[in-house]
Assembly symmetry: C2
Homo-oligomer: 387 residues x 2
C-alpha cells in the first residue's frame, strides 16, 4: 500500500493508505535528530475538488488514530468521529475531502517506535528519537504536499488533536484557511505532565518492558500500560460524570465482598479500559506521544509570548472548551483566545456546557456539533465551496 | 512496650505506646470476621486531667501514623501536625491530652497485614481481613476505654482522619463532646474509588508483590507502591498549586533532554514522593486502607439518609473544607453539614480559601488554625476546662 509521489489521485486518496515521505531529505526534528524516509499512514473520506480547496485535516488525540470514520482494524469499532464525518454529516464528505493521518510516533502504521529501524532491521524501541507535536505537524505537512494540497480548508482536532491544530496555525499559518482546536491547550501544565509521568513510570516498572525491547522478547508490558491507561482515563471524565454514570453502584453483586475484586462498577469499567487498551496500543508509542505532549509549549519558542507565535495568521479560528474538562480546562482555551485576539486573528470562542469532561469532544455533544457546523458552513462560503 | 489493662497512667500515656486490646473477646468486624486480640500503637502528648475530660483524639490520614507531634522513627521528620500540637500551640498540650493512634490495618505497630498472624506465625499478608473505617474507629474506642476515658473532649482529623471523626459521631455520639472533620467526606465518590483502584492495580502488577507474601521473599513491590503514591499525590495538590510551585520549570537543566529523564521539576518531585514513600509504608497496608476508604459510605447504613446516621449527636461539630481541594471538594463537606443541620446538631462550617488543594490540612493554613483555635477554646470553656 505504500505510495510514491506522483501516483494517480485514486491511489493516494481512500482508506488504508500509506505515504513514504521525506525521501529526498530526512525530517529534521526539534531534537536536532534526523528521521527519514518516514511513513505516514492515513485515511481519506470524500474527494478532493479540482482546485484542492476543500481539504480538512483531522488530527487525532493521544490514543486515537487515522480511523476517524472507518472501523478500527483491531477493535472493529466505528471510528472515533464516525458520527460526525460522512455524507450529510457536519463534516460532510460530499463537500469536503477529509484527511486523517496517524501521528508520527504512534503505532497504527506511521513511523514510530514499534516500526522497523532501517539502520538496524529491528524495531526502533527506545532508539526512536523523542519527537514533539511540531514534528508531528511537519510530517503532516509533508503528507499534505504529497496529496497536492497547498492550503487546508480546515484543520480540526480535539485534545492532542487540538494541540496539532494550534501548531499548524503557528508553523504554517499561510496553509490554514480555518482551524478548530477543541478541548486543547497551548502548553502542558504541571498537572498534565504529572499524570503522564505516572503512566510512564507504570510502563517502565513493568518487568516485561525490557528497556523498550519487549517485542524481541515476544511479550508486552501489558500491566504497566494498563495502569497508565486507567490513570489517564480518570482525567478524561469529570467527577460529576463519574458520579452520574457510576456513583457507588456495585458490579453484579448485592453487597461489597470485603476483598479486592472489582466490587464497584467504576473499578470494573476502569479495569476494562486498561485491559482492552493494551490490545490496540504500543507501550513505547505511549511513552513517546505523552512525552511530545509534555514538551508542548508553543509560547516557549517566543519567550513566553503566545501571541507572537500566531503573528500573521489569517485563518478563522473556532476555539471550543467544555465546562467540566479539568484536563485542559477552559482557562487554557481562553489563554489561546487572548493570544489570537492580540494578533488581530479572526477567533471565536465558546465554552460548552457538558458533564462529560474532557471526553465531551468525542461524544455526541449537540452544542459542539451546532457550533462547528455553523463555523464550517460559514468558512465554506468564504472559501467559495458550493453547498 | 505492650501494656495491659490496669497499668499505671504513666505507663499507658506517653510516646511509643502499644496497647493490646480485645483480649477478652475479639473485635467483630463489619465483614463479620473476628479479629483479636489486636494491638493499637499510639502516641500521647500532654497529661490527662483528673476527670479525664481533656482528651483529644487525633485521627491520621491514609498514609499518616501516630507520630502527629513526634519525630517519625523511619524518616526522622517532624510529626505531621507537629506545628499545631504542643505547649502553647492551638492544640495546647498544657491543656489537653492528645491521643493519636495508628489505625487498624496500617503498618506502624497497630495490627495490620504486615504484622504476625498468631494463627500462622507468619505475617497476615492478604489473609488479613478487609476492614472498614468503622472497624478502625471501634478499635480506637477500645483504646479510649483502656486509657480510662469515657467522653472525648474532641475528635479531630483531616482527610481519612476526618472520615474517622464522622464515624465517631455516627457510632459513638455520646462519647464525643466536640468534633472537627477537615477536608473529609461521608462517602467515597466514583472518582475517589477510581484513583485508589489505579494505585491498587499498580501494586498488584508488581512482580515483587507475590500475592501479598513479599515479606517471605525478602522483597517489596516498591515500583508498584511508588506508582500508586505518585498517582495519589497528584490528587492531594491543586492544579493551581502545582502550577505555582512547579509550572513547567526544568530540573537542574537549561533545556529539555529529548528523553525520558525527569526533565521537569514536577517529574522529579513526584518520583521522589514515590521512592521515599516505599521506605516507610507497607504495600498491603496501602491496599487495605484504600479499600476501607472506598467502602466508606456512612449513609448507606441508613438507606442513604445521612442525617439518620447522626441522630442524637450532641457534639459541637466544626466542618472545614478548602476551596482548591478536588479530592474531597467542598460539596462533600456541605453534604455533611446539611445532614448535621437536619438532625439539629450544633454544626459550624467554613470553606477556607487555599491554593494548596487537599494537603492544605497538613500545612500552615492560617485560617484553619484560627478557626480550630476558636472552636476548641469555646468548646473548652463549655467543657469547664481551665484556660
Amino acid at each position: 500500500m505504500e505510495q510514491s509521489v506522483g501516483a494517480a489521485p485514486e491511489e493516494i486518496f481512500g482508506l488504508n493508505k500509506r505515504a513514504v515521505l521525506a525521501t529526498d531529505a530526512p525530517l529534521v526534528l526539534d531534537s536536532g535528530q534526523r528521521l527519514g524516509p518516514i511513513t505516514v499512514a492515513y485515511e481519506t473520506y470524500g474527494a478532493l475538488n479540482d482546485d484542492a480547496s476543500n481539504a480538512i485535516l483531522l488530527c487525532h488525540a493521544l490514543t486515537g488514530d487515522q480511523y476517524a470514520a472507518s472501523d478500527h482494524p483491531v477493535t472493529g469499532k466505528p471510528g472515533w468521529w464516525a458520527r460526525f464525518v460522512g455524507p450529510g454529516k457536519f463534516i460532510d464528505t460530499d463537500r469536503y475531502c477529509v484527511i486523517c493521518p496517524n501521528v508520527l510516533g504512534s503505532c497504527m502504521g506511521s513511523t514510530g517506535p514499534a516500526e522497523i529501524n532501517p539502520q538496524t532491521n529491528q524495531s526502533f524501541g527506545l532508539d526512536f528519537p523523542v519527537i514533539t507535536i511540531a514534528d508531528m505537524v511537519r510530517a503532516q505537512a509533508l503528507l499534505i504536499d504529497y496529496l497536492g494540497i497547498e492550503t487546508l480548508f480546515s484543520v480540526i482536532g480535539g485534545s492532542m488533536g487540538g494541540m496539532q491544530v494550534l501548531e499548524w496555525c503557528a508553523l504554517f499559518p499561510e496553509r490554514v484557511f480555518s482551524a478548530a482546536p477543541i478541548a486543547a491547550t497551548a502548553r502542558h501544565s504541571a498537572q498534565n505532565i504529572a499524570f503522564h509521568e505516572v503512566g510512564r513510570q507504570a510502563i517502565l516498572a513493568d518487568p516485561n518492558f525490557h528497556n523498550g525491547r519487549y517485542l524481541d522478547h515476544d511479550v508486552k508490558p501489558e500491566k504497566g500500560l494498563s495502569v497508565a491507561r486507567m490513570a489517564a482515563h480518570i482525567t478524561y471524565m469529570s467527577e460529576t460524570g463519574l458520579t452520574e454514570r457510576f456513583g457507588r453502584q456495585l458490579q453484579d453483586r448485592d453487597g461489597v465482598t470485603f476483598g479486592f475484586d472489582a466490587d464497584f462498577q467504576i473499578e470494573s469499567y476502569l479495569r476494562h479500559q486498561g485491559f482492552s487498551f493494551v490490545d490496540r496500543f504500543d507501550a513505547n508509542a505511549y511513552l513517546y506521544i505523552t512525552r511530545a505532549m509534555d514538551y508542548f509549549d508553543i509560547a516557549a519558542r517566543h519567550e513566553g509570548n503566545l501571541a507572537a507565535a500566531f503573528q500573521g495568521l489569517k485563518a478563522r479560528v473556532c476555539v471550543l472548551s467544555f465546562t467540566s474538562d479539568w484536563l485542559y480546562p477552559t482557562a487554557e482555551s481562553q489563554h489561546v483566545v487572548r493570544a489570537l485576539n492580540a494578533t488581530g486573528a479572526r477567533v471565536s470562542f465558546m465554552e460548552i456546557e457538558s458533564a462529560d469532561g474532557h471526553d465531551a469532544f468525542l461524544l455526541d455533544t449537540p452544542d459542539m456539533v451546532r457550533i462547528l457546523d455553523g463555523f464550517l458552513t460559514s468558512a465554506a462560503q468564504a472559501r467559495g465551496l458550493g453547498s
